[in-house]
Amino acid sequence: MSLKRVLVANRGEIAVRIIRACADEGVESVAIVSEADRESMAAYLADQVVCIGPGASTESYLDINRVLQAALATGCDSLHPGYGFLAERPELADACAENGIVFIGPSGDTIRRGGDKIQARAVAESVGINTGAGSAALENLEQARAQVESIGVPVLLKAAAGGGGRGMVLVNHLSDLNEKFASASNEALQAFGDGRLYVEKFITQARHVEVQILADTHGHVIHLGERDCSTQRRYQKVVEEAPAVSIPLNVREALHVSAVELCRALDYVGAATVEFVVDAFTGDYAFLEVNTRVQVEHPVTELVTGVDIVREQLRIAAGEPLSITQAEVQLTGHAIECRVNAEDPRNNFMPAPGRVTTWIPPQGGGVRIDSHVYGGYLIPPYYDSMVAKVLTHGSDRGDALTRMGRALKHLTIDGVTTNKDFLISVIADEDFVGQRHHTRWVEQDFLPRWANEPQSAEFKETMSS
């Protein structure tokens, strides 16, 4: 079968991205919008638009019944969930199946097995993929000491009930363990009402590397290489690139094999991302998780492979074979993505929604912009603050970086505060250029330095030229 009409169950730039892929595949698109998104770019570009609820996403983009009703009422045969919102909710995939709508993604069961971290780790271990040194919940200090001695310092003591980076204590020396264990347990009890701890090997300089997978219903599972997403702030990716040139080739190849094997073991169908943490010093790696959706940063892989991942998702959902084989996947050059957000980096990255008065995106010469912004667009306060993904492609990393510097400087966005100057400084930083950055680099090294710089990167350049 081929798809006739896709419900685009998302908003923002990814909705626009999906509408574009539908048009290229000759498939109609129906956009759902909240009241706050009636004037969104997706609403302008889709073949049909329906407003499903008020601005609050719990009554619009997160309401499975409304989303499904919109698909049925507009005669859609398929639904693309994008990323975020309902994309990794198995209930939506199940509900689509029950109502005869093709969910453009894996089955509900696969989402449950792949998306659940504990289950996914078990599957990874069953196919021999390292899931990292660590312990189950610790009973007492003696047990903690035995664990730390066997793993070796440094380790992280983590609250069993914790999350989002809270309740973590770093132990650098075994002699500190008594004191740190008591304070971590105390802190966990205060913060989460549960003092149980577990211990995890701490990687001082960790790289976040992820492998892009495509799997069709004909048994083909291929990878499109890897991405390095080590530039993060509070576990949110800031800059992504492909390929991960700082990682030795043999390690990258091992990651590819592991990711393909894991997806085979999961009977995976669709686009997936298998995430790993890689020790920048030793090259040791451990499995983190599987994302069962298209990722924000998928375009960097598209730029270096020439494969349109969203169109492949549509083909896979229609039951067609992948348009390329593993042997046909060739990497060309290097690609970088910067996430431009409406936020104020000088004010603790506070979101800054508002109306964009002037919007002049950079163009040409290896630049790609994925965005839903236009001049006069009102960025609503309900949703995330990303306004554009600025991507550049070059012959190598240096070339791609030069083009990124140019692209960001040529981006004009007036009316709202953005992190543009912050990004310009990040990609020009010696550590970043020299690939000495890691997942904690932005917070530990870069931001303290940058906070003391009174002038923007653009301003300095003007002064020195």
């Binding site: 009636r38 329906v50 499903i52 601005g55 609050a56 009554e59 409304r66 009703q69 109306r355 009316g415």
Partner: protein
């Protein structure tokens, strides 16, 4: 500079407390427009004919808690009067769809309609159903009066905020 959600919340609260019909606030390059009149401010070019009041600026808290959000509630509860005209029979209370769904005029096929044009209704009377995946949301009249118009056909898909029924309050 740009408006923060807190700023917008404060401005909506100030608007609520006032007896103004419209408010326009310009701070730097950002303009916030609020209105209770059931139509968009004249400066905003709406693509949709059924644009509702208190544009996209009403904060989440206000959306989810009706008691805290008279300005957003105004879109379904307020009496609409065209500026420059006296109270005529064009006036009415507009009942709008609380959600996307299928509009049904009767509780089940073949049953009598909840309401017909010309009928007197009480505020608590059901004027129709908006069905969302077998979930039957009864839509109340919201005020007593006479049913002047029933916009969608039976079984038609309606969008969020779409006009369902016009009720004329008693003289």
């Amino acid at each position: 500079m740009a408006l923060t959600p807190e700023d917008i919340k404060a401005l909506v609260a100030a608007f609520d407390a006032s007896d103004w019909g419209e408010m326009s606030v310009k701070i730097g390059d950002t303009t916030l427009e609020l209105t209770r009149t059931g139509r968009p401010p004249e400066t905003s070019a709406g693509r949709f004919t059924e644009t509702v009041v208190a544009p996209s600026a009403v904060p989440t808290a206000a959306q989810t808690s009706p008691a805290a959000a008279p300005a957003s509630a105004a879109k379904s509860d307020s009496t609409v009067s065209e500026p420059g005209t006296s109270k005529t029979n064009l006036d009415g209370h507009l009942v709008r769809a609380p959600s996307l769904g299928l509009f049904w005029r009767s509780p089940q096929p073949g049953a009598p309609n909840f309401v017909d044009i010309g009928q007197e209704v009480d505020a608590e009377d059901t004027v129709g159903i908006v069905e969302v995946m077998k979930l039957m949301n009864h839509v109340k009249a919201g005020m007593s009066g006479t049913v002047m118009a029933i916009e969608p056909d039976n079984g038609q898909m309606v969008e969020f905020g779409q006009l369902l029924v016009v009720i004329r309050p008693p003289e």
